[in-house]
């Protein structure tokens, strides 16, 4: 849609020309997020510095019937941060201050543009960290983490973002500024913080976040278990969980990804292994040795051919660097790849991994795996050639088949990336119309005009008396 010139002029008056982007060559940066298959240019991007400015921007957009949405670092992988129906992107990167750290109350108050890892770096000299640790934590913003309810490898023990947010300052789609929750452990009334976290920026725009800080553990042990078959590695996961051990993290990486990591930075992963498990336990030092022995015994009983502990902090850091940079490393072995995100009950891990490989073979594409295995959160990565339309279509078909299989196995469409634009058409395989209508009641309360971040999560808007929100992305745009 063409944006109203009066709106642009009013945005200029509010923010100054430097904080309003309308040139095509500058807007192109915002046409997609980490999901490069879906692209849509915004009409304008604005950079507020205060909550009040966000409120004024929203009021202007509402008056002009222009769609708007907030965007953090744009590292999301489901198209959640694109202007699916055009309009104004409210880019939060200038609101990037850590406003307060309080170790007595074990909280931090941050603006949404603060980079996830920066908060942990700030708190770590005092023995604390921010527990959600998505692989993009060097780049992703905490506002984005809140919108997507981000996870990461260590959510197995420490939980996802929702478990670490106490309070939010939110600018509602009406422009009203409202405090949800607070700086205390529990609030009365309906848990609005709980439903805002993970609502993919469709209920309001967060401008201040109170998060819990987590104390660093006394001891940490990191292990690398090597397997000749991916099936043995995935069987191990359930056995460990069933034994009553909840590791801090338990990641499964297959051979294709191992090859990519090793060609990228030589993290020490065995290149001949069919799969490895990267397992970490942490906690009170006196408990770790015994737990380590139990884990080793389970891994060996499930045919691990090697089990080794990272002996130094440098070794541990390198293993984790390998894990967290794995997706980037894939660029060395394929011109393009499509990262998926599904969840299955942990005991179904062997079944889904086998299915993924089979479906890949059927369509003639390779599927690599890197999984938060302990959570049952899989990330099948489909390798394809972006210049080959046939392969693009096949990549999408493989993705859809995998998601469908996840649901058949009792799982979910997404564990941490969100529905965004990517999985709109799949929502119906997980939730009935009644289920979706119940959710849409919430959107109707907060976002009755549907102008905040339209074209996300729900496939069509014609429910609960809402106006139909057109999905403007089409397959022709998926490149």
């Amino acid at each position: 849609m063409a944006i109203d010139s009066i709106l642009i002029s009013k945005l200029h008056s509010l923010l100054g020309e430097n904080r309003v982007i309308t040139h095509l060559d500058e807007l192109i940066v915002f046409e997609c997020d980490g999901l490069t298959l879906h692209k849509q240019m915004p009409d304008a991007v604005v950079l507020p510095k205060t909550t009040e400015e966000v409120s004024e921007i929203i009021k202007l957009c509402q008056t002009n019937h222009t769609p708007f949405l907030a965007r953090g670092s744009g590292t999301g992988l489901s198209g959640g941060a694109i202007a699916a129906e055009g309009g104004v992107i409210i880019q939060m990167s200038l609101m990037n201050q850590i406003l307060k750290i309080d170790y007595e109350d074990e909280i931090a108050v941050v603006q949404p543009g603060v980079i996830n890892l920066n908060l942990t770096n700030e708190a770590s000299p005092d023995g604390y960290h921010f527990a959600p640790d998505p692989s993009s934590q060097k780049a992703c913003s905490i506002g984005g983490n809140v919108a997507e309810n981000a996870g990461g490898p260590h959510t197995l023990k420490y939980g996802v973002t929702a478990n670490h947010v106490l309070g939010l300052t939110v600018v509602m789609p009406s422009g009203d500024i409202v405090e949800l929750g607070g700086k205390i452990e529990e609030f009365t009334g309906y848990d609005l913080v709980g439903v805002f976290v993970g609502s993919e920026g469709t209920l309001g725009i967060t401008t201040e976040i109170t998060v819990k800080l987590t104390r660093n553990p006394e001891g940490v042990k990191t292990f690398l278990a090597t397997y000749n078959t991916i099936n043995d590695a995935s069987n191990t996961v359930s056995k460990i969980i069933e034994s009553g051990i909840i590791p801090a993290a338990m990641e499964l990486i297959d051979n294709l990804i191992i090859q990519a990591i090793e060609s990228h930075l030589k993290a020490g992963f065995p290149t001949k292994a069919d799969a490895i498990l990267l397992i970490e336990i942490d906690g009170v030092k006196s408990t770790l040795t015994e737990e380590a022995k139990r884990i080793e015994s389970i891994c060996l009983s499930q045919n691990a051919v090697n089990f080794q502990e990272a002996e130094t902090m440098e070794e541990r850091d390198l293993l984790w660097r390998g894990r967290k940079e794995a997706i980037g490393a894939l660029g060395k072995v394929t011109p393009a790849f499509y990262t998926n995100d599904g969840v299955i009950p942990r005991s179904k891990l062997p079944e889904i991994l086998e299915f993924d490989l089979e479906i890949g073979k059927k369509y003639g594409l390779e599927v690599a795996h890197i999984c938060h295995a302990g959570d049952g959160n899989i990330h099948p990565i489909i390798l394809y050639n972006p210049d080959n339309k046939n392969e693009i279509e096949h990549a999408i078909k493989i993705s859809e088949a995998i998601l469908k299989k996840c649901i058949e196995l009792g799982g979910a469409l997404t564990g941490e990336h969100g529905i965004g634009t990517e999985k709109l058409s799949s929502l119906g395989i997980m939730y009935s119309d009644n289920d979706q209508n119940q959710m849409l009641k919430l959107r109707k309360v907060f976002n009755p005009t549907g102008l905040l971040n339209p074209g996300k999560i729900f496939p069509e808007g014609a429910k609960c008396g809402e106006s139909r929100i057109n999905q403007t992305i089409n397959k022709g745009g998926w490149i």
Partner: protein, 426 residues
């Protein structure tokens, strides 16, 4: 005015007569029904909508208070099918909302697993009731609350339809997380029928330390010290008065640590040394039998042998920033009074105060608590109060309250689910 007889005649068209009973004395309804499946609940809701009948979802009745305006029909899920769907290798269980917490835990414990929440009060508390009231206790130090463990719910909504939120997996961001909305909503948004939980392994062994102090400040000194140490603490509480397992005039600290037999030994030594560093009257490691009794008393499951106030009329629960709680309590004039009881979760900033007395004698104290908590941006709930009290049960409304009203109107447009029983008359 709709009579119980009229309601019964109507209900008999939906549900078998032997599933319709007069209400328990403490439940403010005219009649109670015990549906056997979701379909019947759906029909009841559709009937209630059509005839403007109000419904009270009912578990064990632990958190239903006298004093609310009478509603028409209590819907008890306690006689629905009690089959737990437990996948032990996934550490996940789906539980009918009407099952008692005790029954569920007994079942799960045979697999070495548990729902890591505290059972409040009597053994009749149901899973649905605990989640609806978002009850927590000393275990929240380690495990948090229901919002950290509930992964899927089924609820009969205002249209009489069964709707699902979430999935039976431990990580899921598909669509809005309505589970968070239902937890703590006290049945005002619909009737929960099934709840799926992540489970926790039951620790191999646990040990409870009990210590006794002259002052709250001394008791707090221990908990402060512990927060800076590395210990696997399962539960922690500071108690006085009716919640103490012994002399009610002293302040007591109960701490449970957990681990394997071998892993516990160094922790026991460590915690013992910490007790020696503070101004403690005495401390000891309790026997297994005593531990069970002490935690039951602290969690209201049993009355203390040495309970000072025989009948507390008031129980006020408050949540404050953690750093504010001790100075707030120390400043309270009732702190030194013998008839006040305290139950404090120091690492969560939560305290429940029990007071005995007529409203005229306690009004000033209660008003000063409300005023101070409001200044510190905390909140207060009257967990127990006389039915004819002039106090609001939730005297501090959050700034987001108008949005909560909008949610209630959208999710329950005919106001049939427990109207007037929640914050601000929701």
């Amino acid at each position: 005015m709709i009579s119980a007889d009229h309601l019964e005649r109507q209900l008999r068209t939906i549900i078998d007569g032997n599933r319709i009973l007069p209400p328990q004395p403490s439940i403010p309804v005219k009649i109670t029904v015990f549906p056997e499946n979701e379909q019947q609940i759906g029909e009841l809701v559709k009937w209630a909508t059509k005839d403007r009948i109000t419904l009270l979802p009912l578990g064990g009745g632990t958190y239903i208070f006298p004093g609310i305006e009478d509603l028409h029909v209590a819907i008890s899920l306690t006689k629905m099918n009690h089959k737990i769907e437990h996948v032990s290798e996934d550490l996940i269980a789906t539980v009918p909302a009407g099952m008692t917490f005790k029954e569920v835990q007994a079942d799960l414990s045979s697999h070495g697993q548990m729902i890591p929440l505290d059972q409040p009060g009597k053994h009749v508390s149901t899973i649905g009731g605990i989640v609806s009231a978002n009850v927590s206790g000393p275990s929240r130090h380690r495990y948090g609350t229901a919002r950290d463990w509930v992964i899927e719910t089924r609820l009969i909504n205002a249209d009489g339809e069964a709707v699902k939120s979430g999935a039976k997996v431990v990580k899921n961001v598909s669509g809005y997380d309505l589970n968070k909305l239902y937890i703590g909503a006290r049945g005002t948004l619909g009737i929960l029928t099934h709840i799926s939980f992540k489970l926790a392994p039951i620790p191999e062994s646990t040990v409870t330390f009990r210590s006794c102090y002259n002052s709250l400040t001394d008791a707090y000194a221990l908990t402060h010290l512990i927060r800076r140490e590395y210990l696997d603490i399962e539960k922690m509480v500071i108690i006085k008065g009716k919640w103490t397992p012994g002399k009610a005039k002293h302040w007591w600290v109960l701490i449970e640590i957990s681990g394997s037999e071998n892993g516990l030994k160094p922790q026991i030594e460590h915690l013992s040394k910490l007790h020696d560093q503070v101004e403690v009257r005495r401390w000891n490691i309790t026997s297994k039998e005593d531990s069970q009794h002490f935690w039951n008393v602290a969690c209201n499951r049993e009355k203390s042998d040495d309970s000072v106030p025989k009948e507390d009329i008031w129980e006020v629960r408050m949540v404050l920033p953690k750093r504010e709680l001790l100075p707030f309590l120390v400043d309270l004039s009732i702190l030194g009074e013998m008839d006040a009881s305290f139950n404090i979760l120091p690492t969560s900033g939560i305290c429940t105060i029990g007071i005995a007395g007529k409203e005229s004698t306690v009004t000033d104290t209660l008003n000063s608590i409300i005023k101070e908590v409001k200044v510190k941006k905390g909140w207060v709930e009257f967990v127990k109060m006389p039915p004819d009290s002039n106090f609001e049960r939730w005297p501090i409304l959050p700034p987001s309250f108008p949005w909560m009203q909008k949610i209630k109107r959208e999710f329950d447009p005919n106001n049939i689910f427990a109207p007037g029983t929640f914050i601000g008359g929701i």
